[in-house]
């Protein structure tokens, strides 16, 4: 089957969700929509199970941090419809301090580690996740290192002080 044009895909989503899903843009042809956490599982389920769309493949889940925005944390889903070769990007923005979102593991087993990674680096709590632990960082770490306020290097380290280098 041929690729679904973005206008048609947006129309299909609009018929079902109306104002709850808004268009962000089409950077480089990839349809990007935004929704709220109340609808996210409904939207993912619709996209996955709709007979004409069939976005059965979860490419990726990740997050992004915008410290200046009111809703600081964005969770980003990339889906792929293998039968029509269409991709879609879905964003959900959350207020820092209340970063709860329902888990996508009810739809895809593969979401498990992707969500653990997102939790590990951004502190996003995926409600209903079977095993939400840190995955790449050590278990007793307290910070969420991919947030912008986390420095690249440990500010307390002393081995790079100028006086060691005669400066």
């Amino acid at each position: 089957m041929a690729t679904i044009p973005n206008e048609e895909l947006l129309k299909r989503i609009g018929e079902k969700f109306g104002e709850q899903v808004t268009l962000v843009g089409e950077p480089y042809g990839l349809l990007t929509v935004e929704t709220g956490r109340e609808q996210i599982i409904d939207l993912l389920t619709f996209l996955k199970t709709d007979a004409a769309l069939r976005f059965i493949f979860l490419t990726d889940i990740t997050a992004i941090h915008y410290p200046e925005q009111e809703k600081q944390i964005g969770i980003i889903y990339h889906l792929h419809s293998l039968t029509t070769n269409t991709r879609i990007r879905i964003k959900v923005f959350l207020v820092d301090g209340d970063v709860h979102i329902p888990t996508a593991t009810v739809l895809w087993e593969g979401a498990n580690w992707m969500e653990r990674e997102t939790y590990d680096f951004f502190g996003v709590i995926f409600d209903g996740h079977p095993d939400l632990r840190r995955i790449l960082n050590v278990d007793d770490m307290t910070a969420f290192p991919m947030r912008k306020e986390f420095p690249l290097e440990d500010p307390n380290r002393v081995d790079k002080k100028d006086y060691f280098f005669g400066r």
């Binding site: 493949f57 990726d60 941090h65 070769n85 895809w108 087993e109 790449l136």
Partner: protein
């Protein structure tokens, strides 16, 4: 340090034994830890612990200009670094709207397919070693060396290649590179044929691999598997065919698929992919003859570093050199997702740019990370020795797993 969770509630009599497979174990080919609960030789449950070589590439990338991120991608799947390098270059080129000349595309295809072959050589060779056959591995390893020598002629390094630049290559391919490539294309098929006749119908090998760790297409898709292990289950998803990049649409090749997703199918799919890769390289060499032989990069002086002698002697080159190094060239404020078919699956780059010299956010969709998460669940009920060859056949590379 918290204790790693081990399921003990199913063992009231304390009859099961716990085995720490890894983090360093000769049978795991990398830093993988699995805490397994064993009933005799059979695995009852397992928990994977990863992250032992996590190096925070995504965080580092937020502080590096685009062209300095290439060496970071080297260290993802270090068995096929050029694919990562070029995937990254193509992501940036997509962001900046750079179109590369056909000759650059074909040269990239040659290097990427060589990388795919070298990755499959290691994976299938090691799978043979894990089933007790060292010979095939030694035969094949000679040709990984031949491929590394071609890399050396092209870019100067072997394992972590940092090959190419944004816009093309840092230098043209020399005649020795082409000579070595042609020699490789003549010699390697004989050895691959020999390798296949050693294994494909070898009774011991088939008994050890057939119906071991068989995965259905539904499970594989639910776990977001990509690459040869997905194709071994019968799903013909290959990024090269579905979303062609670097002029893959110009080439005639087949996407081999397996039938029942077991270790044996994965082995056969990888072998066939090597034949297809050689087909692609041969076509690329023919296509290259029609292209002007002095073009090896796109004409984008704003992003392609000029040669050093020009920087010293040419005013414009000096200006561009300064601008590139200081990051003074505006870039689009947008986001882009680009994926390439890595040797073990869809390697994606999700780049969010804010117009500066380095990415605002860069996320690697790493196939090893996503493919590996089925390992512990699928090991349940498996013999320990089967779990070992299952791990080899997944072709999970620790550097990519932990990023």
């Amino acid at each position: 340090m918290q204790n790693h969770p081990v399921y003990t509630d199913n063992d009231p009599q304390n009859e099961l034994s716990t085995l720490n497979l890894g983090p360093t174990h000769p049978a795991t080919h990398g830093v993988f830890q699995n805490v397994l609960q064993l009933d005799g030789e059979r695995i009852v449950s397992g928990v994977s612990t990863i992250g032992y070589i996590h190096r925070a590439f995504e965080k580092i990338a937020e502080h590096r200009p685009f062209y300095q991120i290439t060496p970071l991608t080297d260290r993802l799947n270090y068995c096929s670094s050029p694919i990562n390098n070029m995937g990254w270059h193509m992501t940036v080129e997509k962001l900046l709207g750079i179109t590369t000349p056909k000759r650059v595309d074909y040269l990239r295809v040659i290097v990427m397919e060589l990388a795919r072959i070298s990755d499959h050589i290691v994976c299938n060779g090691v799978l043979g070693v894990d089933t007790g056959a060292f010979t095939g591995f030694l035969y094949m390893m000679e040709y990984r060396e031949a491929i590394y020598e071609i890399y050396e002629e092209v870019c100067g390094s072997r394992l972590t290649t940092n090959i190419g630049r944004i816009g093309g290559f840092e230098r043209n391919f020399n005649s020795i590179a082409f000579a070595k490539l042609r020699k490789f294309l003549v010699d390697f098929p004989k050895t691959l044929k020999e390798f296949e006749s050693l294994f494909n119908r070898n009774r011991i090998f088939v008994d050890r691999t057939k119906d071991v760790a068989a995965v259905t297409a539904e499970d594989a898709l639910s776990y977001s598997w990509t690459g040869p292990i997905l194709r071994a289950t019968g799903v013909d998803y290959d990024v090269r065919a579905m979303n062609p990049y670097s002029s893959y649409e110009d080439f005639d090749f087949e996407v081999p698929v397996g039938t029942n997703g077991d270790v044996y199918s994965r082995f056969l799919v990888r072998n066939e992919e090597m034949w297809q890769s050689m087909r692609i390289i041969e076509q690329a060499l023919v296509k290259l003859e029609k292209e002007p032989s002095d073009i090896f990069h796109a004409d984008v002086p704003e992003f392609y570093l000029p040669p050093k002698e020009e920087v010293y002697n040419n005013m414009e080159a000096l200006i561009y050199h300064f601008k590139i190094v200081m990051g003074e060239i505006p870039t689009p404020n947008t986001e882009v997702y680009h994926s390439v078919e890595g040797a073990n699956g869809e390697l994606g780059f999700y780049l969010v740019n804010d117009g500066g010299r380095s990415p605002y956010r860069l996320h690697f969709r790493r196939p090893s990370f996503i493919n590996y998460q089925m390992y512990a669940p699928m090991s349940r009920g498996m013999l320990l020795s089967d779990a070992i060859i299952n791990m080899s056949s997944l072709n999970v590379i620790a550097g990519e797993l932990d990023a």
